[in-house]
């Protein structure tokens, strides 16, 4: 248990520093959210209609940012060997790494998401739901992203490969979260979308580590 806690502390600290950490991730997110109105045009009605969806897609893209280094650094400097050589199952180690990634970048993004959406013209009442969706979605993004990061270990330009592997897996959470948000905005029942998003995140947390562990073992041997 103490090994798990000490690993979580380390992974969070490493994710906090990786590629500039949460500041750069949130900055990138803010950048994408600022570019959108410039492309779509300044009419408030048109912007408000796409605000939540735009904020949601920008969030998915921003979560990709520092993913490629999640396993790559440990693989290159030999730390992954030592992390594997332990009583702690590799599956659990991979899950902790993703959890650290989520704490360091997913949580700050979840705080920034409602602000960005409201800035784009979404109604203030949406803020709590956007926060909840971003929190659950971010968890799914971190664990699915981990699969891509582990699969692209040892590949040249692994970062691009990670994005290509992971983006299709991001489709369901983007649909579920976007669906819940637009249903809420239209005054329709939105709980179903959020529940599906939560279920998808739970499945990613449960199954992602199995895939990551297999990919890590394969990369090492």
């Amino acid at each position: 248990m103490s090994a798990v806690m000490t690993l979580l502390r380390r992974e969070t600290a490493l994710a906090w520093g990786r590629g500039g950490g949460p500041l750069v991730t949130v900055g990138f997110y803010a950048g994408v959210a600022t570019l959108l109105p410039l492309a779509i045009g300044p009419e408030t009605e048109r912007l408000a209609a796409v605000a939540t969806g735009a904020a949601w897609v920008a969030l998915a893209l921003a979560s990709l940012l520092s993913l490629d280094r999640l396993f790559e650094r440990d693989y290159e400097d030999g730390a992954l060997d030592l992390l594997t050589l332990s009583d702690t199952p590799i599956e659990l180690t991979c899950a902790i790494k993703c959890l650290g990634q989520w704490i360091a970048t997913g949580a700050p993004l979840a705080l920034a998401a409602p602000i960005a959406a409201i800035g784009l013209g979404a109604s203030v009442q949406l803020a709590p739901l956007i926060f909840a969706c971003a929190l659950a979605g971010g968890l799914a993004f971190a664990f699915l992203g981990g699969i891509g990061a582990a699969l692209s270990l040892g590949a040249r330009r692994g970062g691009l490969l990670t994005a290509v592997i992971v983006l299709p897996l991001f489709v369901p959470p983007v649909i579920f979260g976007g669906g819940a948000l637009s249903a809420f905005a239209a005054g329709l029942p939105w709980q179903g979308g959020l529940a599906l998003l939560g279920a998808y995140a739970a499945a990613a947390v449960a199954l992602g580590p199995l895939a990551m562990a297999a990919a890590c073992r394969n990369a090492l041997s």
Binding site: L7, L14, G78, D81, L85, S86, D87
Partner: protein, 200 residues
């Protein structure tokens, strides 16, 4: 736990090339074996196979009873070419982490740092350390979280003459406490009770 190391008829294939086959070795507590052989003969691969990081083509590796996976998880230390240290973290953070990961305590980490004269370096980022200092920081794990089997891949190469001598004493202490050492070396391994040459 590890009560011995026995390798039977081991063959390892890497990238389509058979590195060696029919390799056998028995190591009992208190023994150290020096693995020698030219570059690329498979010394590192053998160490990685013992650590369970590389799958063997044929043969078996046992640790004197008990399940191999559990024996590896709690019974061996692996010090490879790469030391697994993050350049941007301080020496203290890295030593603490790897000690706790291997089941040691902060107090043991401190004692190991003392023994390897790392205390003045602990506040520095790993990137500021020299190759020999980094290696000493990696070797500190061996002392901070005691485990019976040490797998060492050219442990002495970055160390200066004084530290080679000191590490020879540390290895002798480990063997005296019924430890086992399997080390890939190019120079003679001090205190080795036997050697195994892997042919090219």
């Amino acid at each position: 736990m590890i009560a011995g190391l026995s390798i039977r008829a081991l063959a390892i294939r890497r990238g389509g090339r058979l590195l060696f086959s029919d390799l056998s070795l028995d190591l009992k507590p208190g023994q150290a074996c020096a693995l020698t052989g030219p570059n690329g003969s498979g010394k590192t691969s053998l160490l990685r196979a013992v650590a369970g990081l590389v799958r063997a083509e044929a043969g078996e590796i046992a640790f004197g009873g008990g399940e191999a996976e559990a024996a590896r998880g709690a019974g061996l230390h692996f010090i490879g070419h790469q030391d697994g240290l993050k350049p941007a973290r301080t020496a203290l953070e890295e030593l603490r982490f790897w000690t706790e990961w291997a089941g040691g305590t902060a107090g043991q980490a401190r004692a190991a740092a003392d023994e390897l004269e790392l205390v003045p370096l602990l506040d520095l980022e790993v990137r500021r350390l020299s190759a020999g200092q980094r290696r000493r920081l990696a070797l500190a794990r061996l002392l901070a979280a005691p485990r019976p089997l040490w797998l060492l891949d050219e442990p002495l190469s970055p160390l200066d003459a004084r530290w080679r001598g000191r590490f020879a004493e540390i290895m002798a202490d480990h063997l005296a406490r019924s430890g086992l050492i399997l080390a890939a070396v190019h120079d003679p391994l001090p205190g080795a009770t036997r050697s195994l040459e892997i042919p090219a």
